[in-house]
Symmetry: C2
Subunit: 205 residues, 2 copies
Amino acid sequence: MSTATEAPEHAGRSYHHGDLRSALVCAAVARVEQVGAEHVSLRAVAAEVGVSPSAAYHHFADKDALLGEVAATGLHMLVESVGAEVAAIAGDTREAARLRFRAAGQAYVSFALSHPQLFRVAFSPYCLEHPGVPTTDDGSVPVLSELLNDLVSTGGMNADVRDDSEDVFVATLHGLATLALQGMIPAERVPQLLSKIEQLIGVDD
Amino acid sequence: MSTATEAPEHAGRSYHHGDLRSALVCAAVARVEQVGAEHVSLRAVAAEVGVSPSAAYHHFADKDALLGEVAATGLHMLVESVGAEVAAIAGDTREAARLRFRAAGQAYVSFALSHPQLFRVAFSPYCLEHPGVPTTDDGSVPVLSELLNDLVSTGGMNADVRDDSEDVFVATLHGLATLALQGMIPAERVPQLLSKIEQLIGVDD
DNA sequence: CCACGGAACTTGATGTTGTTCAGATTGACG
DNA sequence: CGTCAATCTGAACAACATCAAGTTCCGTGG
């Protein structure tokens, strides 16, 4: 995001770009957000950076590889966004843990709704073709995993409920975000459904 | 699906095709399933049907409009598939209703895993650009809606739990399917998670 | 029975796209 | 100061979406 055209010393004008790779990814992210991944052209991205189309092939095997990087970036931003909202709520109390849980759900859906195209490409086949997906460690999202640990340790959730609930919670959140994005669930129902989910999953009152 | 190249009388060889529109959609569906929506070309679809590329423009405004029809077809097939599995289980008992519920969940995820590209395009921006999405009536999927009514009327679910649970159930199913498709949830955990969902949502034992 | 109008499709052309490759340019290192 | 590898350019190519103009077909009214 911040690695756009700010090359170390010689910004822009020299023959060598300095950090073309991240500049291309950054421009591609912007373009994806504007027109959607399926309408992004390699040439347009290269032109925006001020470089010939073939320059991209020294950093990416494919157009798909570039989009793969965009997908990975999208996932990263999603996790960062959720993490930031969660981290903003401090405290060891059960109440704080419950607020963090709530904030995580809202942040996940909010990100999807405010970055629809990026969210979509993050869960498209592109990110499978590329390694370096930063969210999955043992197959689950670290932020949400810690979140549940938090709830358990503060007594906001039963420990035996936890393990199965994690994947269910992630799945529900993701489904909610996707369907809201698609317009199949009205956005104004989302908060209500989020609290319903908390209730079902067993976040104790 | 069955409206491929079987024109009413004069099949195939005449100048006029008979039912080019559905033939194109059908071929496009096949091609999407093979290579994914982002790698489908209008020309290849037209060639498969045995028609010049520009012929498609008499039936669709755009390549995107054709893919929109593919998306709608995908949604339709998904609903049909779930509906068929549910309808295969007869009976008015609470037990039967519970089995139907279980079958619906499995069918939903199974469809996603066995038609990954079609499932993806069905929930891509393409289907927004096109009317005629057959799944949503008041915003929810009819099959699943009836399913829950079923459960309630046979005593398998509390009536007051129903309304909120519907969207949550759909969202969870959809999230589960998407994440399994993405490899973020191992496919072998899906049945376990499905029963967990039933339990959480309040399908009485 | 026949001309005619319109719908369905083709041909040919245009501009854009992804991709490749031979060569020009550069900074770093000896 | 010269060499070298990394980086970028430019021109080229095939495939692509799209469109305008022409061609073939079918049904319909005279």
